[in-house]
Chain length 491, copies 2
């Protein structure tokens, strides 16, 4: 078929790009670094949004919307934030175009220059905390549990569809609390919401932990992360949740009167996941035939393909297929009946495999006689002959099984590709030969962390919460260490 | 109470601004012309989105996402479009900031100037048709029925919350068709979807019709509009649907091979509604006590307020209230139990009236004894004593009745404030004395249209589809006219 993918073993990176394009998920646009998210890719994002939005609301959050533009001066208010965020940004300097006096087209009207430049938000802590200042006076106004679904822009030099783009879509939670403890709890609660989402919906096993000081969000006291392993052994940071302390409250002078009548600065968190999760989803599960989508996030759960030669057969199959479709849909699933007569069944099979539809039902005239269908699982590519009768009753368990199988396969790969290394030589060899996650001792200094990165490209993905206490020595410096941290080369 | 509103009769414009702020819908931000949509306002937008999104999907559309930035040169490609749209825009000229060498803060890095400026999308026809060029080759690729939920920016000089802001949220549908007829049908279909939404969900009666040539969307062959009347008699354009002909296909060279093998330009539509609809909703129904929200779009349908003095009473009422809440929620409604002990019942009543909650249930110790509650309708402010028993069974019909009552009240007002004028004197007098909609004859020329606007501020809102054939003479020029058109002063 025309839509042949590069094989993962031949060129993993090319395979990924091919797949994103050929499965109609996204494509590069005329604007450098900005992608077009095509309808099929956007349908996956809509499903992700729906699940996450419900999770946020179930944990007491509400949505709001803050401006796209942030005055340049806001970025200077939080000392660390400016270093981390206000550099590679899109800057709006003018607010008017005019007809080019020298010919065709339009030019910038130089008389319409803004007094203060506006930055297209790379993240919204500054504009939001500037707003919260007016919303918070008393402990009665707290906590403030707000989320925003929005587009953001970071001027990345090297971009890849979904994984790193100049503009991307995300949600950013920004909460305000009366106490340090409450804010810390919130940051961890949202990390757990994300982990629940990643593992139970995206079927991606993740490791949660603290970021090192060096890898923290600019302006955070602590950054919690959840890290996934892609099939090529590289790590991908799937999302983060930050405990911001009182840094933004101090920068924007946001105080409240406590119930003891004292004036105090407000405590903050922020947390976000992005369209990057679509990249993680693709790279976690898909294969040389195309996408493999976990049923809980797939836009289409079941596709029915009729196989016929005569018009009479076509009609008879359509009638039965629509009956089956209706019964499965009544269980809450999305079913597509692919009755296009412009393509042959084999072409359709390949197309739906490419698009990762979890279950395929094929039926021909013989099946009608026998009251059977051919059922094919996308994850294992296994086929079976099934009785039409009561098929819809078996679909839910089957989709649950596919969901679990996809997760377990990813978990097994991660376990196989996670290695404990105790010496510098061993560490380097694992990274260059086997790749994957390396659990190793580290002396806790940024200096060592940076040197290890320079020499191996591996970074500390996190200090896993479940890393056990264990005496050891840093693989690089030989200094003492109390527990292992998670190293990997990352996307 | 503290949150006193300006009265509509005293200052309608101030009443509107007060209400938007005091009902916690939105506020102005630190960025001129950009608003913050607060959680309660955003909840209304989320409800609107959910209903519209389903309507779009039910009519065969899918969502996608296109870039925020549009290369400046794209705007020059469609001759009329550039005149109408590429003027008051936010222009991105640089992609990097740097530390100010002379002191604190950050400055624009002048070495990071873009080769071609990027425009923050004021609307997306150009970038989308540039993309469609690669998606459309054959008649088999058509129709393309795509919608986008997005933020857009138009640099308005005079802004008002929801009604006119520099940045606003909207949806923009962009469809591509093989024939003129199909595209025209689509533009009218989506107009009807909007009218259905406005009348049956927002409870706003609207008049649909053609825009005059002068008021058409820049680049459209025809613009259909639906116009609403606000309580002060001014018109508000609630949304538009455009038949774009082949203008954008020609500008971006988008051709397809027809099923007869001919190469032809593609036919287009676009259609959109915005957060402005929240402004329309407020100004259509609300009163001097605050918001009046139609149940089908209200974030909270029923609020229950307990009235107690003792802790024992509080507990007994809470138990019963939660029971009632659960029963009403089981019918698919959102119920809030307002058990805050920081505020008195009277304060809460005023608060929920301000926020437009359609039904209020108040219950005290006497009610517990009698197994009754006091039920108050927000729309009519009527109160009644109701039996607790089976209350949940009566709620759906009651909310439906409120929905219908709100619509009928708005319809009655519009009818009262719609006048036929046959002479220029009469026309001016109606506009200056009574206001509202004026149905009058017009000679069909832009010249007359512009002069009428200059002299009276009234514009032709539309040529209503249901305007009957009728011989007459233009109120301004005295030239012959075949049918009346709809004039009004508009927001």
């Amino acid at each position: 078929m025309a839509k042949q993918l590069t094989k993962r073993d031949d060129n993993y990176s090319q395979w990924y790009n091919d797949l994103v394009i050929k499965a109609d998920l996204a494509e590069n646009s005329a604007v450098r670094g900005s992608m077009v998210i095509k309808p099929y890719g956007y349908a996956i994002w809509e499903n992700m949004k729906a699940v996450l939005d419900k999770m946020f609301k179930d944990t007491g959050h509400v949505n709001a919307y803050f401006p796209l533009f942030i005055p340049k001066s806001f970025f200077s208010k939080e000392a660390k934030h400016v270093e981390g965020f206000a550099k590679e940004c899109a800057v709006v300097t003018h607010y008017r175009l005019k007809n080019d006096p020298n010919g065709k087209g339009v030019v910038v009207d130089e008389t319409a220059r803004l007094e203060e430049e506006l930055i297209v938000r790379p993240t919204s802590e500054t504009i939001i905390w500037n707003t919260y200042k007016n919303w918070i006076q008393s402990y009665r106004d707290l906590p403030l549990l707000i989320n925003q679904w929005a587009n953001v822009v970071r001027w990345e030099m090297r971009t890849r569809l979904f994984l790193r783009t100049a503009e991307f879509l995300w949600q950013e939670g920004h909460t305000a609390h009366a106490t340090r403890e409450e804010a810390q709890e919130e940051a961890l609660r949202m990390l757990d919401v994300y982990v629940d989402f990643a593992e139970n919906y995206l079927a991606i096993p993740v490791i949660k932990g603290d970021k090192t000081e060096n890898e923290r969000f600019a302006g955070a006291e602590n950054t919690y992360t959840f890290e996934a392993m892609m099939q090529d052994g590289k790590a991908l940071q799937a999302g983060t949740s930050h405990f911001l302390g009182q840094n933004f409250a101090k920068a924007f002078d946001v105080k409240f009167t406590s119930n003891e009548g004292r004036e105090e600065y407000v405590w903050a968190t922020s947390w976000g996941v992005t369209t990057r999760l679509i990249g993680a989803l693709i790279m976690s599960h898909s294969d040389d035939n195309g996408l493999v989508l976990p049923p809980k996030i797939a836009p289409i759960h079941v596709v029915i393909v009729p196989i016929y030669k005569t018009e009479e057969q076509r009609k008879a199959l359509a009638e039965k297929a629509l009956e089956i479709k209706k019964k499965i849909e009544a269980r809450g699933y999305t079913v597509k009946f692919d009755d296009r007569d412009t393509h042959k069944p084999g072409w359709k099979f390949a197309e739906h495999e490419l698009k990762g539809v979890p279950l395929r039902i094929a039926m021909g005239p013989r099946d009608l006689e026998n009251q059977t269908v051919e059922l094919a699982r996308r994850d294992t590519l296994e086929k079976s002959i099934e009785n039409m009768d009561g098929l819809e009753d078996r679909i839910p368990a089957l989709l649950d099984n596919i969901q679990a199988t996809i997760f377990n396969k990813a978990l097994k790969l991660r376990e196989e590709k996670t290695t404990h290394a105790d010496t510098w030589e061993e560490f380097k060899e694992v990274l260059s030969q086997k790749g994957g996650f390396v659990m190793a001792h580290w002396d806790g200094t940024t200096e060592t962390e940076v040197k290890i990165k320079e020499e191996t490209k591996a970074t500390i993905r996190c200090i896993p919460f479940d890393s056990v206490d264990e005496e050891g020595v840093c693989i690089y410096s030989g200094k003492p260490s109390k527990r292992r941290v998670l190293f990997a080369v990352a996307y």
